[in-house]
Amino acid sequence: MYKLRQTLWAFAIVPVALVWSVAASAQSYPNKPISLIVTWNAGGSTDVIARLLADPLGKALGQPVAVANRPGGGGSLGTQAALDAPRDGYTVLATTSGNHILTPLKNDVGYKFDDFEPIGQLVAATIILAVKVDSPWKTLDDLIKAAKADPGKYTFGAVPNGMPNLTLNGLAKEAGFSVVHVPQQGGAPGVTALLGGNVDMLPANAATVAANIKGGKLRGLAVFRSDRDPAFPNIPTAQEQGHAVFGSPFVGLAIAKGVPQPVLDTLRAALAKVANDPVFQARALKTATTLTYLPADKFGMVWERDWNNYAPMLRK
């Protein structure tokens, strides 16, 4: 009899306890450290911004945020790891155009951009088309004229199918010239190739060429945004020079779909708070990264826009 009563009690208590604990854990999210997956190598531009973010974001959330680099496969390994993790809000993805849009369009990676919920965009990087400072090309027009006169003579360096590569392809198509792609293994090798005279031009993220443009070794001919970059006010946009070509790689936070709504709200609020904090902004500015914070809904629209833009170029 005693046993039966105990069993009955247990049946009654367990569901209550379960509900209680689920409710409690949702309320008290986060109650353990959060892992922030970076899909590129330590030391890259995404990694630096993620590591800068980790500390203030952890303070805003009340739990430490630890960066975990999971590079490889064009960023697909880390992205997949973020999808494989339990959907409890403790694994966040520092996502970029590369791993989020370009790699899944080009390769069979088993995920799509909308397998994720946006948390917010942090950076929309500027792409600069740079040449060596002793190059005869002073403007975008000079370059285009030369390239049109000698199709296939000039070369450019870029990571294969990265945003700078695709942006230059877009420009070549729009302006009707042809240049030869010498694929590079990263931003820094691209700068080496340009400085060493092994390629004639380099479309690159602003951060990779900033030091050499400011140091007078490279010249920026155009940026591919709708307005000039405040960090490089002397470099005109491609649009000003008559070529409406745009390209802007993003970095932001995302999380696998299926995470409870309160968790999403918490993360979005925390990111907004950090992104609007002047101390964090000043720190990011020092890394030559201008923050372009966008809230979740707008970030989601960027995903969709880029996905549709680049699908025709990359899908086979």
């Binding site: 294969p160 090798p189 700068v191």
Partner: protein, 497 residues
């Protein structure tokens, strides 16, 4: 001179000195532990430096870098498990010296060769940064390809007496390096539809597998036991001391290897492991008694260690003068510069003279402190030769598994490591040398990318490799190496058994 004095001010304070010492200590220990690697330690330490003054923060990272590059040799010599890929060349002769009861000799030579290499590298950085950077820029894809081919011929040097198996191992390494993402098109290749294969074989899993796990398996087969020596090991015993004769043999080797290491370090994209193997191979090839190598030749240790540590100063040449990080570690350090608003490159180098001077002084100071700390720690490290294998190797396995996981955040790579462990064990058992496999794996991407980029640049013409003078020199060296090796093989067949 004023600039140097101003720079000295930034370095000569307690925080900066303490951070260099902390960095060196962490670096040496991390380097010595198989699985934990230097880039990882630098990445973890990076956020700490955000809150220090730039020189103190960079001092810690430089300490980890220098200490870690050297630390790998400790485990390579003492337990035949290289703590870092760059130390794998050190193990070839270092571990053999330990087996002969001369571990102290190997440890001392490894340290002194490392320090001399570092010092020469620091001086080269300070005195010739700009000309070195200009030279490094002349190393384009054709030069990288030809250098890679020259380095590959050294597989032949390493395989003398065991040529077929050595070449098979080297080819295996080249083949393994082709898995993952095609470096020029971004397509996935050789993944067999397995998405986890998209990253190729993780380098760290391969290194730890074929060296650490394989060594554990071989020791298991020999039934543990055997090793522990009685009594404390004293570094002052004659067997553990360097003689005048040792120095006479090794000093020229150290000088040459340091200079080559400085060159390798200044060129972006090569790195310490390439330098270690290149120098080991060159030294063996130039030696009058190449047959002593692999059987406990102290010059082998000296070449590998001065070669890999001579990279550590020169890698800052492209970073400081051009803003280009030449390897993973300097890439992470770039982060430490920029959070302080210091963007390395021409502007920083030409306009912030006192900061650059402080950085140079810090580098030299770190080299000196490295000598002191490592020499003091040696007496402790050498005692691992007294730890019974039954205690030591379970620890090695645990550290290997944790190390691979911490580095890659991936369970898949732990299985990869175990798989390579079995491969490495079988290779040892059937007499295949493991080093060529690693060399092939490291050089594969350099050669592939160099070749394909060159072919695009020349629109398909092979002449680009001989019309560019530096490339032609490397190809000539490659041909010469092959000729020497072939001649030696031929002669030993004739006079041999």
């Amino acid at each position: 001179m004023d600039v140097l004095l101003a720079g000295f001010d930034q370095v000569a304070n307690v925080t900066a000195l303490a951070m260099i010492v902390v960095g060196l200590t962490i670096g040496i220990v991390i380097g010595a532990i198989p699985g934990l690697n230097v880039p990882l330690a630098v990445a973890i330490a990076l956020p700490i430096t955000f809150n220090l003054n730039p020189i103190a923060g960079l001092g810690m990272l430089v300490g980890i870098y220098k200490g870690g590059t050297y630390g790998g040799s400790l485990s390579a010599i003492l337990i035949n498990v290289p703590g870092t890929p760059a130390a794998a060349a050190t193990a070839l002769d270092g571990a053999e010296l330990t087996r002969q009861g001369k571990s102290g000799k190997a440890l001392k030579m490894s340290l002194y060769a490392s320090i001399i290499g570092e010092f020469i590298s620091d001086l080269a950085l300070i005195a010739f940064a700009i000309p070195m950077a200009l030279f490094a820029l002349r190393i384009g894809p054709p030069e990288i390809f030809s250098l890679g081919i020259f380095a590959l011929t050294l597989v032949g040097v390493l395989s003398q007496g065991n040529m077929i198996k050595g070449l098979i191992a080297g080819a295996m390494g080249l083949f393994l390096s082709t898995f993952g993402v095609d470096p020029l098109t971004g397509d996935f290749r050789l993944t067999f539809g397995v998405r986890k294969m998209a990253g190729g074989w993780a380098f760290i899993a391969l290194v730890i597998g074929v060296f650490a796990v394989a060594e554990v398996l071989s020791v298991l087969e020999r039934r543990l036991g055997q090793r522990p020596l009685a009594g404390t090991v004293r570094l002052s015993d004659p067997d553990h001391s360097l003689t005048r004769n040792d120095w006479r043999r090794c000093l020229p080797v150290i000088a040459r290897s340091s200079l080559i290491g400085v060159f390798i370090g200044a060129v972006p994209g090569l790195g310490a492991a390439v330098s270690a193997y290149l120098n080991y191979g060159i030294t063996r090839n130039l030696s009058r008694e190449p047959e002593r190598f692999g059987k406990g030749a102290l010059e082998g240790v000296a070449a590998a260690e001065s070669g890999n540590n001579a990279v550590t100063g020169a890698t800052f040449v492209p970073l400081l003068t051009l803003g280009i990080p030449g390897d993973v570690i300097t890439a992470i350090m770039l982060g430490a510069f920029i959070v302080h608003g210091l963007i390395p490159g021409p502007v920083l180098f030409e306009q912030q003279g006192d900061f650059i001077a402080a950085f140079f002084i810090m580098m030299v100071l770190a080299t000196f402190l490295h000598l002191v700390i490592a020499r003091a720690g040696m007496a402790a490290f050498i005692q691992t030769t007294r730890v019974p294998n039954s205690v030591l190797f379970p620890i090695v396995i645990t550290l290997s598994v944790t190390g691979v996981f911490v580095s890659t955040n991936s369970f898949f790579d732990i299985y990869v490591m175990l798989g390579f462990g079995v491969l490495g064990y079988l290779m040892k058992k059937f007499g295949f040398p493991v080093a060529p496999l690693l060399i092939g794996f490291i050089l594969g991407p350099l050669v592939e990318v160099g070749l394909r980029q060159s072919m695009i640049m020349s629109r398909g013409g092979l002449d680009i490799f001989v019309t560019r003078p530096i490339s032609a020199v490397f190809l000539f060296l490659a041909v010469a190496t092959i000729a020497v090796v072939a001649w030696r093989e031929f002669r030993s067949k004739k006079t041999g058994p």
